[in-house]
Structure formats: structure tokens, C-alpha cells
């Protein structure tokens, strides 16, 4: 009797998940439109992401390798695109990013250190906030066309009967096989994302809310106050990509191997279209930590040296040639990266005076 009661109590959370969900009466194109229009929806909640990309942990890459290689727990308060706070929770502390209309505050509880950065920069490394279902969902939904959409069964996620949408890119050379989104059919807010790479059966990146409230957070929570016992400094380039963008003397071309530049005006830029995106950085090779990449396989080609970090979804190629170091990475195959790098070296990069 006692065992039965205790077992029943333990099973309550699972049993709640078995309560039938109401089927959303929304078409795939309509759901996509609502997702794309959800940037203004205020919310707060707790989310978890899991990723298994196994990227190399390189100095200056910030939390990139950890974010894409393990579980990330995030707490978010989002009022709008230029006012939000995302805490990356760790077992013994947290790393928080506060966004305001003029820039960001980054808080590291372990070091009790705050970093202020003015502006956002056109090119930057990914950060935990990018893995939140609404952000990741909108990014994946933006290039999708109606022909690439299909509906998935509705699921109850964080208390919401979320309508499911599958995006299957129509062959444009991307490593992405399909992306599944579940969104609140009323507000369009994405509450779960699962990304599956080509050749894989299970998602390689997933992100889901555990708790969610769709209402405006208090301003006392989204505004950062510098603690008295904390160190603080200003940084114009808080990550490697922005440092390259800010200080490298090189200027990338407008197109490389048929891929057109999407963002960036200097030594850091993103190229490609739809789901086949490539980020490119170029910097003087003396600032490039090549010795830290010695564990990666070498790639032959018309250059001094090159190394490849491969994963089912994201691939990255580093090339050193003629005093410059090139970093290329994106959702394309290694062969495509090698082709783009070869063409970039052929074209050459301009040097700013």
C-alpha cells in the first residue's frame, strides 16, 4: 500500500504528460508566419539545450565548444529584441548576459567580473542566448519556403499545447537534414527546437523550455546593476570574431566562389544563402593560435597549412597562407569549405590602410 502510494506520487509528473493535448488548427505556412512575427513577444522561463557537435575548444572562442558540446541550462527574461537577460546556469554559479538598447553587460559570477560592450557588432560568435528556442526557431524559420514545410503532431511543452512544424531544406548543399519546431499557435513563440543533420537519425541539437510565462518581465530583473565587490571593464571586442572584425587590417571580398556576403564589412563576414551559411574571418597569422589546433587533421591544398574540424552539422576549416590566417565555418560540407577557401586564396583579400 505504502509502496503503491509512493510510486504513484513519483509517477505524477509522467502521468501529467499523458493528458491529451488539443490539436492546433493552424496551417504550416500560417504557423511559420507567426513564428517569424514573434520577436516582439515578451516572455520569461527556464530552458535547456543539448548539443553533440564536439568542436575543438580554442582560446578566444569563448563558450562555443561547451555550448555546442554539452547541456546548457538557461534562464531568460525577454521584453523585446533590445531588452533582455539570459543567465547561463552552472552547478556553482552563472554567466549572465544583459542586453539593453545600447549594448550588453556580461556577468561572470565565479570571477565576480562584469564586462560592458557598446553596440552588438555585425559578426560575432554564437552565445547561449542564441540557443533559446525562440531565437533558434526564428533563425531556422527565416529562410524556409512553404514547399519545405510540414506539420508535426501537437505536443505539450512547458504547459503549452505547441503546434509542430518540420522544415526540410530542399537540397542547397547544407548539412542540415531537417529542423523541427514547436510553437505556441497563438503567439508564435517557439518553445522547442530539434535539429537533425544529414545522415543522422537523432537530433544533434535540441533546445526546449522547461518553464515558460508569456508576459513582460519586471525591469528590475532585466537591468544590470554593478555589484560593489565586482571588477568591471569595457570591451570593444568581447569575443574572437568581434576582435577580428574590429582590429584585423584585412577586408573580405563581396563574393567568394558564388557565395554572396550577407553581413560584415571588414575582416569578418558571413556568406551564402538560406541554410548553407559560411562565416569567414581573416587575420594576421601571428595572432592565430595554430599550435592549439595540432590535434585536428590536416587538409592538403594550395596553402601553407590547413586543419579541419568536422561534425555532422557544423564544419570549420583553418588555413594559414602568406602571413594571413583564414577561419571558415558553417553549415556546409567540408568539401564546400575547401572549395571556398581555395577560391578565397585565389582572389586574395584587400588590406586596409
Amino acid at each position: 500500500m505504502v509502496v503503491a502510494v509512493a510510486a504513484a506520487a513519483a509517477l505524477i509528473p509522467s502521468a501529467l504528460g499523458l493528458v491529451p493535448v488539443s490539436k492546433a488548427a493552424v496551417s504550416a505556412p500560417s504557423l511559420l508566419r507567426r513564428v517569424l512575427a514573434s520577436a516582439g513577444v515578451s516572455y520569461s522561463g527556464l530552458a535547456e539545450s543539448f548539443a553533440g557537435l564536439s568542436l575543438p575548444d580554442v582560446e578566444g572562442a569563448g563558450r562555443l565548444a561547451a555550448m555546442f558540446g554539452e547541456q546548457t541550462r538557461m534562464r531568460v527574461w525577454y521584453e523585446g529584441p533590445t531588452l533582455w537577460r539570459v543567465d547561463e546556469l552552472t552547478p556553482i554559479g552563472e554567466r549572465d548576459l544583459y542586453r539593453d538598447p545600447y549594448g550588453t553587460w556580461y556577468w561572470d559570477s565565479g570571477r565576480r567580473h562584469a564586462t560592458r560592450t557598446e553596440g552588438e557588432g555585425t559578426v560575432r560568435f554564437a552565445r547561449p542566448a542564441d540557443l533559446l528556442p525562440p531565437e533558434l526557431g526564428r533563425r531556422l524559420a527565416a529562410p524556409a519556403s512553404p514547399a519545405e514545410l510540414s506539420l508535426l503532431p501537437t505536443e505539450r511543452i512547458a504547459g503549452i499545447d505547441a503546434a509542430g512544424l518540420r522544415i526540410t531544406p530542399a537540397g542547397d548543399g547544407t548539412t542540415l537534414d531537417h529542423a523541427d519546431l514547436w510553437a505556441d499557435p497563438a503567439s508564435g513563440l517557439v518553445v522547442r527546437v530539434a535539429i537533425t543533420a544529414r545522415g543522422m537519425k537523432e537530433p544533434i541539437i535540441s533546445s526546449s523550455f522547461l518553464d515558460l510565462e508569456q508576459r513582460r518581465p519586471a525591469s528590475s530583473i532585466t537591468s544590470f546593476e554593478l555589484p560593489e565587490d565586482a571588477d568591471a571593464h569595457f570591451s570593444e571586442a568581447p569575443d574572437f570574431a568581434r576582435a577580428v572584425d574590429r582590429y584585423s587590417p584585412y577586408v573580405l571580398p563581396e563574393t567568394i566562389a558564388g557565395a554572396t556576403k550577407r553581413a560584415g564589412a571588414g575582416a569578418a563576414g558571413t556568406y551564402g544563402r538560406r541554410f548553407s551559411l559560411i562565416a569567414v574571418l581573416v587575420l594576421p597569422d601571428r595572432f592565430f593560435p595554430e599550435d592549439r589546433l595540432s590535434a585536428l587533421p590536416e587538409v592538403g591544398g594550395p596553402w601553407d597549412s590547413a586543419r579541419l574540424a568536422a561534425s555532422p552539422l557544423l564544419n570549420a576549416l583553418t588555413v594559414v597562407d602568406g602571413g594571413a590566417a583564414y577561419v571558415l565555418g558553417g553549415t556546409v560540407t567540408p568539401d564546400r569549405l575547401v572549395a571556398v577557401a581555395s577560391k578565397l586564396l585565389d582572389q586574395g583579400v584587400a588590406v586596409q590602410r
Binding site: P91, I92, G110, A114, D229
Partner: protein, 267 residues
């Protein structure tokens, strides 16, 4: 019955040796930190310990985080595992039951005694840590994990809830040890049984492959008391931690009661 058991526990030198050892570890750590001035690297090591060098107000929480994973559950297992099995091995259990004392009443008295021990041990460790932290590192406003200092009145209730949470987290281990204690007349076997449950839970909690069972593991939410020092407080795992311990306590004590009340002891 409870008064008798409580008096017995309080008068046993072993009780105070265990509590002294529990409080001694954080004191030793504090002295080493003070003498060398070398703390864990920021963001590494046991929770809050990296900040203790600058503010002793954090030391009670740091001390509890130090003893929580291994030292405290071992101490609780020793006390709870001995409660029934110890009486059985000494042959005093049958005499106890010959007296007009119901088995359920005896089990409840043992359980309440273990509970008092757990709360007492956690409270004493926190108080000793506060005194040592204040003496060696000084007291400043309690810094929150999320940045801003925590107001004095907030700091008080957060610390009180932390002490209660850590103590309640130990009750699951105590219930496991008590259950094993009803199965054997060897206190060592009962302690070993509880520690086996503890180690199994901690190992599974580290395995990515065991993700589906993590929320049900006895030790999974133990360190969630750190969420009490965030702003705003993150209650999710703290509440789940309390509820999970409740389920384990009900399940294990129910089994202990079922076994103890039907066991052949007096013949």
C-alpha cells in the same frame, strides 16, 4: 519512547565525535585558505568557496556544499544504519520489544531521533562555519550569485532555507539506512547498503546516458540550494528536491515499517 531514544543519542560520545568531524572539515579548509590565501580558481571548486576569501558571510553555504556530497551522507548513514541493526546485534532489540512498546512506535522514535541528529548536525556545521568565516575572513553583505548583494533580511531566510533543504536532503539517505537496518543485524551492512544507494545515484547522475532517470535520482537535486542565492530565486529544483525526498522517505520508510513490523525478532 522518543525522549529515551533522543537522550541516548545525545549522550553518546559517538554523536558528538561525528558532528565534530563534520564541522572540522570546513574549519580545516577555512584555516588553509586563510593561511595560504589560495582559493579555488574562480568558477571552479565547491560552490561559493572561491568567494570566501573576500567574504566570510558565504562560508556557511560553502561549508554545507563541502560536506554535502560525501561526508554528511556517510555520517547520516552511520547513525541511521546503526539504529535498528545496532540494537539487534547487541541483542537489546528483543528486550525492547518485550516491553510494552509497539514496533511502529519504536521505528518512529528511531526515525525522529535520526531526524533530530541530521538537523542538529547541519545547524551546528552552519553556525561553526559562520563563526569561523566571520573570524577569519570578515563579514560583508552577502553577495548574490546573480551580482547584487542580498539584503540582510533576505540573507537570513535564504540561509535558513538552505539549512533546512540540506537537512531534508539527508533524510532520504537516513531512510535508506534505516530500511537496511531493519533487514540485518550488522550495522556495517546497513551503512554499506545506504552508501551503495548513494554512490549508485551519484554515478548515474554523472552519466549523460542516464539523462532520462536523472530527475528521479536521490542525489540529483542536492546542490539545488545554490539556486536560493540567485536573483530572482530559482525555486524549480528546490521544490523538486523537497518533493523527491518526500517520495523517497515515504517509499523507504514504508518498506522499513512493513519489514520491521512483520520480522521475527523475539523468538
Amino acid at each position: 519512547m522518543f525522549a529515551v531514544e533522543l537522550k541516548k543519542m545525545l549522550l553518546r560520545p559517538r554523536t558528538w565525535v561525528i558532528i565534530a568531524l563534520l564541522a572540522g572539515l570546513p574549519v580545516l579548509v577555512a584555516v588553509l585558505l586563510r593561511v595560504t590565501g589560495i582559493g579555488p580558481r574562480p568558477g571552479e571548486g565547491p560552490a561559493f568557496l572561491a568567494q570566501v576569501l573576500g567574504n566570510g558571510a558565504l562560508f556557511p553555504a560553502a561549508a554545507l556544499a563541502l560536506i554535502l556530497p560525501i561526508f554528511l551522507p556517510i555520517a547520516v548513514s552511520v547513525v541511521a544504519g546503526e539504529s535498528i541493526a545496532g540494537e539487534n546485534s547487541l541483542g537489546t532489540l528483543r528486550y525492547l520489544l518485550v516491553l510494552p512498546v509497539g514496533r511502529t512506535k519504536l521505528l518512529i522514535a528511531k526515525l525522529m531521533t535520526v531526524t533530530v541528529f541530521v538537523f542538529m548536525a547541519v545547524f551546528i556545521v552552519a553556525v561553526v562555519a559562520y563563526v569561523v568565516g566571520a573570524s577569519l575572513f570578515g563579514i560583508k553583505p552577502l553577495p548574490g550569485v546573480s551580482g547584487a548583494a542580498i539584503a540582510a533580511e533576505d540573507a537570513t531566510w535564504r540561509t535558513v532555507v538552505t539549512v533546512i533543504y540540506v537537512a531534508v536532503s539527508m533524510l532520504g539517505v537516513a531512510a535508506a539506512a534505516l530500511l537496511f537496518s531493519t533487514f540485518t543485524d550488522s550495522p556495517l551492512a546497513a551503512v554499506f547498503g545506504a552508501l551503495a544507494v548513494l554512490v549508485t545515484s551519484q554515478v548515474l547522475d554523472l552519466l549523460e546516458a542516464g539523462r532520462a532517470v536523472h530527475p528521479y535520482l536521490l542525489t540529483h537535486y542536492w546542490l539545488a540550494f545554490i539556486d536560493l542565492f540567485r536573483f530572482p530565486v530559482l525555486w524549480r529544483d528546490v521544490v523538486r528536491g523537497f518533493l523527491l525526498q518526500g517520495v523517497y522517505i515515504a517509499l523507504l520508510l514504508g518498506a522499513a515499517w512493513a519489514n520491521f513490523t512483520t520480522k521475527d525478532i523475539t523468538s
